[in-house]
């Protein structure tokens, strides 16, 4: 659902001259599956061990009891991510201007929330204006 919303917005971002990129800790092979299943028009880059997420201050580790819940729901994070760190990035969307400066940031500490693509779009419009 999140990706469907982003797929819709990616075209709007690109019409404004921006490049939309997703970064995920999952292995390349799952990004390839996702691209085919959802017919994505943007790139998903693989971030092994959440190393880039860490440099952005976004990496967190799931507590042990939540790991058990995930496994019960068949979410085997070590299999998806190719490491047993049980870490994820906080759901985040950033707009970076051509000078490399972050001009907009939506970062959720509540990992069940997601940045709203509509809000990102209206920020981007102001930034490129």
């Amino acid at each position: 659902m999140e990706l469907d919303a982003l797929k819709k917005s990616a075209g709007d971002f690109e019409a404004l001259g921006a490049t939309f990129i997703a970064i995920s800790p999952q292995l390349q092979t799952f990004n390839r599956e996702l691209r085919e299943e959802k017919k994505l028009t943007f790139e998903i880059l693989s971030d092994p061990g959440n190393q880039v997420a860490q440099r952005y201050g976004l990496k967190f580790q799931l507590p042990k009891d939540l790991r058990a819940v995930y496994l019960k729901f068949n979410i085997d994070l070590p299999r998806y991510n190719g490491d047993d760190s049980w870490t994820l990035p906080l759901p985040t969307t950033l707009i970076i201007d051509q000078n490399g400066i972050i001009r907009h940031g939506a970062i959720n500490a509540d990992y069940t929330l997601r940045p709203d693509p509509e809000e990102t779009l209206s920020s981007l419009k102001k930034i490129v204006a």
Binding site: R32, D47, D110
Partner: protein, 82 residues
């Protein structure tokens, strides 16, 4: 309906049928994460974005520096397909 409203509805549906102890674990994780101060350590508006070089689904390298050559970049951190 916006993405956030859809997700909130989904979560309410999940929480209504999930075991109580599972919902409690999820809520506690969110609370702990908020209290951990993680948001104090994230990148902020006005910061220089750390450069990176990562592989796409075909194994091709993409660096932030090269992407910025073409214009601004909207960067989304995404947990995974599950």
């Amino acid at each position: 309906m916006g993405l956030q409203e859809k997700l909130t509805l989904l979560r309410k549906g999940f929480e209504a049928q999930a075991p109580k102890e599972v919902v409690a674990i999820m809520h506690r994780t969110t609370d702990d994460l908020e209290k951990s101060g993680i948001l104090d350590g994230t990148v902020k508006v006005g910061d220089k974005a750390p450069d990176f070089s990562l592989k796409n689904a075909d194994g091709q390298e993409y660096s932030l520096k090269d992407l910025l050559y073409h214009g601004p970049v909207v960067l989304s951190f995404y947990r995974g397909k599950w």
